[in-house]
Symmetry: D2
Subunit: 368 residues, 4 copies
């Protein structure tokens, strides 16, 4: 047997731990060969396909601790709708499938998020690829798994930032705003907001009122707290009801963003000095947390076991402290948003944080 593995979409912490687990299980447990495909589906468009033999990584513990992905994950576009030099789009899926076939693989493990997984599944169905998916996304917005690889590390980075901002906020009596990732789903802001002691937590799933928020900050001051911590996802509504996003993943760097917009609004309304920090790419990289390594390891081992059992078109998942697998079709149904009735929201509000009010009706996004 000979299996392939690729990483797709934005990188995150724990991808190399998944790769190590796959290699260890496949090589030590089954005696298979493992081939790494470079740069997601982009590597399959190369001739010959761009690959790395992975068996020799079996002894490489460093992979557990190494951020990013040794396979690379540059994104040149959806192969079914591939941007061409002349500005048009082409269906290059046949080329990708031919690339895959040229490798003589028995199965493919695709590590990706919602979007990547949907494309990989489409390729698998068209090309007869034996596909198993492993969920990764710092946003943790995949359905049917409590955790995706990369989320816990992203939360830790955000909490670490909150821990640094709190003392300086108190020393200078300021409102400190931390902008974190989460374009559709606010899981990072919510988890990190609770663990980091935020006074205001703004997520895409919930509506808010600038006046109420400002009043909440003033009330906090009144009860003797000389500073406030705000955590905000990268996409929230404006006071006009438009959605504002910071566009980190866009084609070019964006000047300004949600955090700065909010700082201005909140500063005006409270008379309080405000400062903004945008975490950005710090959330993606770096050594994965123990939790992410653990989840990555269970996912990698289980994915190989699924292949051994010839169970394809499935995605591994984490439920009730166990690894399970679910149909891929169930996972690619769009982002799992924060359930505004869930524990995390009630906890945040129970701790005295301002979160606004659900539900938010989505409008067209506007990048500030």
């Amino acid at each position: 047997m000979r299996i392939g593995i690729l990483t797709s979409g934005g990188d995150c912490a724990g991808l190399n731990a998944v790769i190590l687990a796959v290699v260890r299980r496949a090589v030590l447990g089954y005696g298979w060969d493992v081939v790494g495909i470079r740069q997601g589906t982009h590597g399959l468009l190369q001739r010959p396909p761009a690959t790395i033999p992975l068996n020799d990584y079996v002894n490489n513990d460093g992979m557990l601790r190494l951020g990013g992905t040794i396979l690379g994950t540059i994104n040149k576009g959806n192969p079914f709708h591939y941007p061409m030099p002349d500005g048009s789009f082409a269906d290059r899926s046949d080329e990708v499938i031919a690339g895959y076939e040229a490798l003589g693989l028995d199965a493919l493990i695709g590590i990706g998020g919602d979007g990547s997984m949907a494309i990989l599944r489409e390729l698998a169905q068209k090309g007869g690829i034996n596909l198993v998916g492993i969920p990764k996304t710092i946003d943790n917005d995949l359905a049917h798994t409590e955790y995706s690889v990369g989320f816990t590390t992203a939360v830790n980075v955000a909490v670490d930032a909150m821990d640094r901002l709190q003392p300086t906020a108190a020393s200078h009596e300021r409102i400190m705003i931390l902008e974190v990732m989460g374009r559709d789903a606010g899981h990072i802001a919510l988890f990190a907001g609770i663990a980091g002691g935020a006074d205001v937590i703004l997520i895409p799933e919930m509506d808010y009122d600038l006046e109420d928020m400002a009043q909440h900050c003033l009330n906090i001051r009144k009860r003797g707290r000389n500073h406030a911590l705000v955590i905000v996802a990268e996409a929230i509504k404006t006071d006009k009801g438009d959605i504002v996003t910071s566009g980190h993943d866009g084609q070019k760097a964006v000047y300004g963003g949600v955090g700065h917009w909010l700082a201005e609004k909140l500063g005006e309304r409270t008379g309080w000095e405000t400062r903004v920090t945008v975490l950005g790419h710090l959330q993606r990289g770096g050594t994965p947390s123990p939790r992410d390594r653990l989840i990555a390891s269970t996912f990698g081992v289980h994915a190989v076991d699924l292949i051994a059992q010839q169970k394809f078109d499935r995605v591994v998942a984490w439920q009730q402290r166990r690894v399970v697998d679910v149909p891929m079709a169930d996972v690619i149904t769009g982002p799992r948003l924060v359930d505004t009735g869930e524990t995390m929201v009630s906890t945040a509000i129970g701790l005295g944080a301002y979160m606004g009010t659900p539900p938010m009706v989505k409008k067209t996004a506007k990048t500030v």
Copy 2:
């Protein structure tokens, strides 16, 4: 309303985060008073009872990040079987209950593990105390909750140690042995072993064979890995079938222990240089991980909400990324051991680690 809170048993990271969450929910949400009882039930034996008013902590974010417990948790003994100066034991439960009554509290939140919770429940039933329990234990061996406060931080400390030991093991071509806590249940060793890349993981729940273990290490060497990492819980069997423990929590410091015993045995059998590190109390203290703060926060808020609903004799718990509550009677049934058929064990073995074989038949413990 006026509620009390105490911490009992060994300290761990996240206790102060629980206290903060309780204070914030009770004071901001319900307008109650919160009284901290010092040193577990020991504080209730003082006259007047030793307490700290906690309402003013409502603005103290630092509690989120502060290890240990501001309430203290020295353990002078079970009030139902209290060790007296003359060497005898006395039932001092009535004194504890009288101390509690003197405080004029409407309810009590007890933060503790298996053993503490059982004693608190007995006191509550005898004294008519409205009790709600919050599970904490670095060993994570409480039933009906996926996580207890303190476990994740303890695992992180152990993984951090593994990360430091691996490069020096490789540089010197050694077997490095890390001894971690877990007298009855091996959850720390198992989680940290996977996340830290252990080649051998020994837990109280599983039997092992020294010759097999040594052979496993030699096989690893044969496949080109120049070092090995071993993680071992503080209580495992000897080669004679006796249970060996390191006795960290005993009355006096113990010379030697499980790790050193194993180092000698493994060194003899492999001819490999071995070194031992005993993590000990490092696992208890320090800043709680974001995960522990999050769980602590949900637990604290929910415990207060239970009191508001007059739901007593219950323990808050974490299940499927939600906070729930379960009958206290269900939780104090003894340690939840590692299920040797579960994901973590199959993952560890799938990664190529040696774990021995279940089940272990318990014999009398012997401290080496």
Copy 3:
């Protein structure tokens, strides 16, 4: 004896460690009283002056680990040139001195940077205050001391960010730009650039050429490195020779900044995808590094010893791994810039980093 202590200017890590050391030395060693003055000289404008008795902090180890300053350090302005509500400026130095006199202190320890120290000295000379200075600044730009309190932690935060950015840069084959503090002096960028493996290090003290820098990045790519790391201080020259700054400490949050400006320029010239991270206030707060605590402790103890010896108008300093003291007049002579002939610069260039060419002739700053 009764001594006062205040913190002035931007906060940084290690201020509370200084305060703890002063209290321990003064209380345990000399039996004096220590009075904390709130909010720098602002606290002395209050009636009565805003103070905190500090003797009871003698047992508070937590101060060693606590970021920011418990005394606060809001900056309302130079008392000799104080901004009044009507937009005018007033000399309020007599009020500050009167506030100080009202406290009945025998000496004052002022913890501050270049600017704060100059103002405190002017006040001391006018009011006959027995002043000893302790240098703190994340920028490390004070003369006659190898290190000021706060610098090492700021560098560590920046290196931590570099460590997170490198794997994601490699995974996506990008140029990652990290903007750090340092308006006049580039010590943070230089130290963190070396320790974090930067390919380009831009500091205010050195000139550069955008075309050369872009060529350097392309050369790196040619030699097989698929990404580049750039670290840039918050104030550098534009390609027109103007100085660009990010204005973090200005009155309002600034949209954009040096990093984003550079990303655009470098992206255009290399065709390489660029991403920007602005560290901002993360560099100030959080638990001080062991080194900062060590320096803070030696500074605090030595400052009290100077008072005991009636040696005033001096600043403690760190030279050759020893604490010394120097005349305050020597320290307030303006920022100590990076010496472009020094070890750090030659090391960075020796490692293959692009740093441009000295010297830079200063022009008028322009905030982008």
Copy 4:
């Protein structure tokens, strides 16, 4: 040109950063080849000598962050007095020199401590090797350099442990004892003791009295501090005047040690509950601190520059925040002990820590 590099003696954090700096300077700056020699002088006894070509590491940033040494550093013994299988000792220096000559190198960079450096120098003088030394030792006991590679990371690990032990000590009202490395020189204990807030700091260079120490702890309790932190180097005197050591680097794991011995003595005299943690090998491994990477980088670059200038028999060193070089003969004169009149000692005592009294007259060491 073609230069060799080897690491010798116990590993520490920052060795790979030195190697990276040497490679970058030699390859990018001078166009030389760099050959890594495996396992110190042991690699030169192999036929052919065990080596790794290092030029390709020029792009490997990971080396900055990787603990240990990729070259390995197993110690089989001094080649001038090499332990033979029959128990005798042989002079194998000619074989080592022949191995070196077989590599056709123009110069050798030896990274090591006091002992390794002396042996390398003897080899160099006998074999006409162009040698440059780079100081590394977690103990920081090399003369003429303020810092050696590895020291700062070791201190950080120890302070991190102190930070974890303090909250649990306070929660349980205990004396916590941390045993750190330092057989001859107590720099780690001293630096970490100050930065970590130790109440007692014991180092090999200073004498102490158990009764005084116990009284100091009782006095601390009297002033309202409910716990005490003790940091102790691995070799101190007993109450009989014998020197006790923990023998970590001996041939076999040792049961017990200095920390446990002290715990018993101190517990008996104070009636206070004591607990011990032995840091051991945790101090060696893991990601180097930014400071260690910085020093490693300046050392590596400067060592190559010395070779380019044909300056041999010299050791690079750190003085006054500059890299310099000194004659190797000056460095190998034995360990640089803590100067009991220096800043660190007076700071520790000034903070209220018990350190005993200098000087200690050395007696024969006895391993407990």
